[in-house]
Symmetry: D2
Subunit: 357 residues, 4 copies
């Protein structure tokens, strides 16, 4: 078992463990009784911290997973006859096994993008049929920050989308499973590119950035959507021992866990990018702005190195792979991996040139 356990990799930032500071906070709140389901002082404190970060109108609700944060955040604001517009690479479209359709019963409409980022002009093909009862009504534009392609929206890009949404009587939703990585990249407070940029609903992720479990649905415009607490409960997302989620977010913000973790993983990604760019036969296909690297490499090389370092293929047709760094990625991980990869590519027939299309 040890071998498997010790196997490092770049499969996902959720393959890493829990940051020690978070773990410490969990242990700290583990004394005495605390009323269940969020009526405890730790959860009060966590809510306050979110208001500090995102603005005093913020209403925050903790759930268990990023999928739940996205789906319930949307579900609090829309009905089954609405549609949500997103990039086809978005988590809500591609990685939640149809959870929006299952839980909200709405339609998800997608567009292709070169880099995982929506732009108003991409959306026009879905902006019709308003008021026409035969057609799902476009109601939310959903973006991911940082995106599933590792790219980061600028404040202006977000504002443009918010304006576009609001001028069409729609809302802007942000999937922030990796929000901290974007904050570090932009070097801005969270609020600057969420609440202040016009975002209405935010999923604020922690699990991929040093926490154990627990994500936050944030309604940024004041007031809880009517009935949201019931929706959370009946969607099986109300934690009984809530204090253990709250405690993590307290550490996350108050002890700057978010910054330390995201800063480190972003740095590691840049370092990995640098090393990979040195390898002829490996091609970086997306800008590296957070903790994801997309790269083409010869398939046989990928298969070989996968035996030691696990990561996922992104597009099998184009031999494109996704490498994620994490808060616990080490320089040694990167150097060992890159050294090995360089050797494998060098020895690979055709030097991998064939695949660089």
């Amino acid at each position: 078992m040890n071998d498997i356990l010790n196997k490092r990799g770049f499969a996902s930032d959720n393959n890493s463990g829990v940051h020690p500071t978070v773990m410490e906070q969990i242990m700290k709140v583990n004394r005495g009784h605390a009323v269940g389901y969020g009526d405890d002082p730790y959860t009060d404190e966590a809510r306050s911290v979110f208001k500090e970060q995102l603005g005093s109108d913020t209403e925050v609700f903790f759930v268990f997973t990023g999928t739940a944060a996205n789906v319930l955040g949307l579900g609090g604001m829309i009905r089954s006859w609405h549609s949500v517009l997103s990039a086809d690479t978005s988590h809500i479209n591609s990685d939640e096994c149809g959870s929006p359709e299952k839980i909200i019963n709405c339609k998800v409409l997608t567009v292709e993008t070169p880099d995982g980022k929506l732009r108003p002009e991409y959306l026009s093909k879905h902006m019709h049929g308003f008021g026409f009862e035969h057609h799902s009504q476009p109601k939310v534009i959903s973006i991911s920050q940082s995106s599933e392609m590792g790219t980061v929206y600028t404040v202006d890009e977000i504002k443009a989308l918010a304006d576009y949404a609001h001028s069409n009587d729609m809302l802007l939703h942000m999937d922030g499973a990796r929000l901290s990585n974007a904050a570090v990249y932009l070097d801005l407070p969270f609020r600057a590119f969420t609440t202040d940029a016009g975002v209405d609903i935010l999923s604020f992720g922690g699990t991929k950035n040093g926490m154990m479990y627990g994500e936050a649905v944030c309604f940024l415009r004041g007031g809880m959507p009517s009935g949201f607490r019931y929706l959370r409960k009946q969607s099986m997302q109300l934690a009984s021992k809530m204090r253990f989620i709250s405690a993590q977010y307290i550490a996350f913000f108050k002890c700057n866990v978010w910054k330390e973790c995201a800063g480190h993983s972003n740095n590691m990604a840049k370092m990995l990018e640098k090393r990979l760019r040195e390898i002829k036969g490996v091609k970086i296909t997306q800008k590296v702005e957070s903790n994801a690297i997309f790269a083409q490499m010869p398939r046989k090389v990928a298969q070989e190195i996968n035996k030691e370092y696990f990561f996922y293929p992104w597009n099998e047709e184009t031999d494109e792979y996704r490498l994620m760094t994490s808060w616990d990625t080490t320089e040694e991980d990167i150097n060992t991996f890159s050294d090995k990869l360089a050797i494998l590519v060098e020895n690979s027939p055709g030097d991998g040139e064939a695949l660089i299309r």
Copy 2:
């Protein structure tokens, strides 16, 4: 804050924290990388432990909450046109905010019971309309062990319900949020009153008995229901860092946390029962067979003592209250509470006699 934190009570067994052994195991698995979503060696081990406890045909899936365990366990086996028969006091009927209806879209049909326990003869009023397309088709009998009234089914009672279910082409589901308390009371291995007694689907609870979060859906008859993994994912119940749930169950079973915790809370309940029975003006209304005590007491007394010890009213019309003990309830908790209560009742006008109807 300290005051509130230190406030002890009998509100629910989920107001307690995490057992140290469980916490230790969580820390133990928090090293290195582990593949997410359950494809890790800890989860493998946890699955094996469940098979040991419940039989080798057991298929176990971890989810976050007891509501999720119940709803998805049922959802794996039934369709929207089926009905689930339960006691009206059942958690699936009264405490899940309509989650079965929301997630499975099925009907929940209930019967009144004196003690929270179903018996075949209670169910006959719902056992009709089979094959009639206008009528939801009865498909599952759902019982809670221990029940929401603190009572425990004997093996024979469970077998009778299983036979009744199976002879009607139905299934027997058991909500085991407090299964350990029943196991201790019955002094039987889990298997004896679940798999071997004819139960088909089991929710195996840990959170109320020393764990932090995480419950288990157990299909006991071999084979995963078709598509269950997708149902779990789209129902937002697939944990990314699964190892932290699995680790808890490993400690739960391998270190006998379940037995220690449930044994203790059962004992505390018996001790509390004994003390309450000594108080004239307080009336125990249900058999104390697990860690719940139901008692009538004068309303003003209840309100007064609630300021120091929190617990919930069960039936406001009859001044009936529910007191739950927990793995961390102390003898001091009970003695202090009982002493205080005795004094309050004694000084209460009419000695509380009025309410004993």
Copy 3:
């Protein structure tokens, strides 16, 4: 085939055909083009007629079936975390195969009644947990007029329920699949015991009373519930050739089809009641106030006469049967049936006395 076709019976008022005046109106509108989906002049006219009958605030939407009228009427006003309170004999609970749970995903809570009619005092057991997120929120009281037991609410009874609902921030829904029969019995305009008595949502039925298909969802308090048109469409209840439903309702109201049909079927029910009361061994178990008769009779007798006259058992345990008259029931039907029944009962062992419990 002729034999089967000619077989008369008392199975249901939907076993009858279409009233000639309705059929005539259908043919009358079957010329030229009419814009689909309700944007045609016939549908405009039908909407006006409803406003005349129920008040100018009425918003009416046509759907295909009574189940759809009930479910979408409720669905327009409530969310998945709400509960609907009804008699356990209600159509929404017993005869729609869980359609409210499937389509609205809400909870239906029931009470037993002696006569199919709700009374405020019956409901108290469900009137709790308001604001408590673990509990489905009671939001609608649903009654059937006439009831599934053939009984009719007085105006005062309806007002009492409306007051009770409104004082608890709830709504009153009326399933009027057989509303015309109640209007005739009460000898009141529809408005007097619906809009003016405090009903908020009404299903107005036509199919059981001379129409071919088509039922009406009526929101009586002004304004369409937000998004209702989309809900109807996505619930597959928007007719393309809407004029053919509208035409039926025009004839229904303007040519007094409703009164002629319901008056006749009510009269036939009274006549049948009279004849049955003369038969020793047959016991009428409910007041006959509309077009349903509930009667106990020896099982063998029922089985024998069922070969010629079809009707359904209501409660097999008590040998209770339901007989429905219709707009096309003839005096001959009743006399032939009653004569035959009298003979069968007379010749039945024990004279049927045994069953009169």
Copy 4:
């Protein structure tokens, strides 16, 4: 009102009325009693007729609308974690207001096509993630025959899609709202391009081709999907007076109404196409193979002629319009319309040349 009523147009084939032969059959079955909900001899006969047309393994279920036929046909075979692949112009994607998502809770994935017709090579981008629990599982390929663009699949094209589906453990669904038009165009029996070509599930439409209401869900491979009858009922699609739907289908097939109606509307479309092609400044954009014509024309011209002849814009950006002929379209309709259009275009500034891009 007469003016409006007499206004002819090309808005949709559902703006026409009911064919006299169908109406006659409706009147014919309107005598005596018939057991409700489909247990009547007319429905038996209608089921037989479908078996004759589509093969003896066919299981047919009547519902009210084309949306219902599509959604329940799919719903009988798939679960919420499945995805359905279709053209983005498909009715299930664009014109059902998210009904598949609402009722089946599944995902609909789309591809762009030049002519409304799917081809296997278009689908590859969605054919991945099989067995991966994070991804909705592709389960059905859905095509429309004739397509929403008026084009018709050949038998070979259907077979290719069926083979592609089956080799991926998927099913082929056909939306046959306008199946008769395709049958006439192909000059083939229905069976040849449905059952025999590998289609698994078929929506067989009648309303757009001379019927009043009622569509058919046809499972072509033998056996009813488990529980389908309950799904239909709880989805509010079980007609009580079923004989009136059945009767229509009897006339539809036995009196060749389908052929007469579809043949006529196809002919009228060809005639209209011919006339439009003569008008310089009007451009036909799709092959005319059934009863739809897609044409670009100057916007002002379209707006002007719309005052007399109603039809819908298809794509406002490209000034493309959809014209549908119907079973009751007359040569006079076409000649009057075309004459008028020719004059309007001629007098239009720039002769409309500008818009032909």
